[in-house]
Amino acid sequence: GESVGLHLPTLSVQEGDNSIINCAYSNSASDYFIWYKQESGKGPQFIIDIRSNMDKRQGQRVTVLLNKTVKHLSLQIAATQPGDSAVYFCAENSQTGNQFYFGTGTSLTVIP
């Protein structure tokens, strides 16, 4: 099957610093990628997505970068805030169907 993995399982950053969360994927045919945020006791929430015809997409304080050459995805959070503390998942969608594949998640802790 496909695999989606994260380089670091935990990340701690100082409030106000920028955060970078990384993700590797294995299926070069995947064409749609999503980042989710999951706070404790809640379901995952959509943050930002990117399709394979782009290499960068920006949202409010977040940027997703896609490097198809090395099959790498990253999420950058600017000026990290305590409310950003959560587990972040990347997900990829295979062109063969509607099924998403999720990484195991990176736990981000923001230190006040």
């Binding site: 989710y36 379901g43 995952p44 959509f46 997505d49 998942f89 997900a91 169907g97 509607n98």
Partner: protein, 111 residues
């Protein structure tokens, strides 16, 4: 905004009981999914459905079944609950080719 609701936030059942987990979405999404989430294992797909009365096995369908009689509702059934099915269960829905929206999850404990 899409709203995905799950029938229970917390559930405690005994081994051997039949368990029903209900999920409802209100945005007319074609696709619906059931995942379980366990520490260190991430989200694993149990079943998904891309249309009414249609279902596809995910990565870990053993011990589970599903039902989708109406477009907005996708039910997960544990025919005979076992302790290794203690987990967080997440339902999600999506349009074709779109991102998945998740419900709040049901934390199931089987004793």
């Amino acid at each position: 905004d899409v709203k995905v609701t799950q029938s229970s936030r917390y559930l405690v059942k005994r081994t051997g009981e039949k368990v029903f987990l209900e999920c409802v979405q209100d945005m007319d999404h074609e696709n619906m999914f059931w995942y379980r989430q366990d520490p260190g294992l991430g989200l694993r797909l149990i079943y998904f459905s891309y249309d009414v009365k249609m279902k596809e096995k995910g990565d870990i369908p053993e011990g589970y079944s599903v039902s989708r009689e109406k477009k907005e509702r996708f039910s997960l059934i544990l025919e005979s609950a076992s302790t290794n099915q203690t987990s967080m269960y997440l339902c999600a829905s999506s349009r074709l080719g779109g991102n998945s929206d998740f419900g709040p999850g049901t934390r199931l404990t089987v004793t």
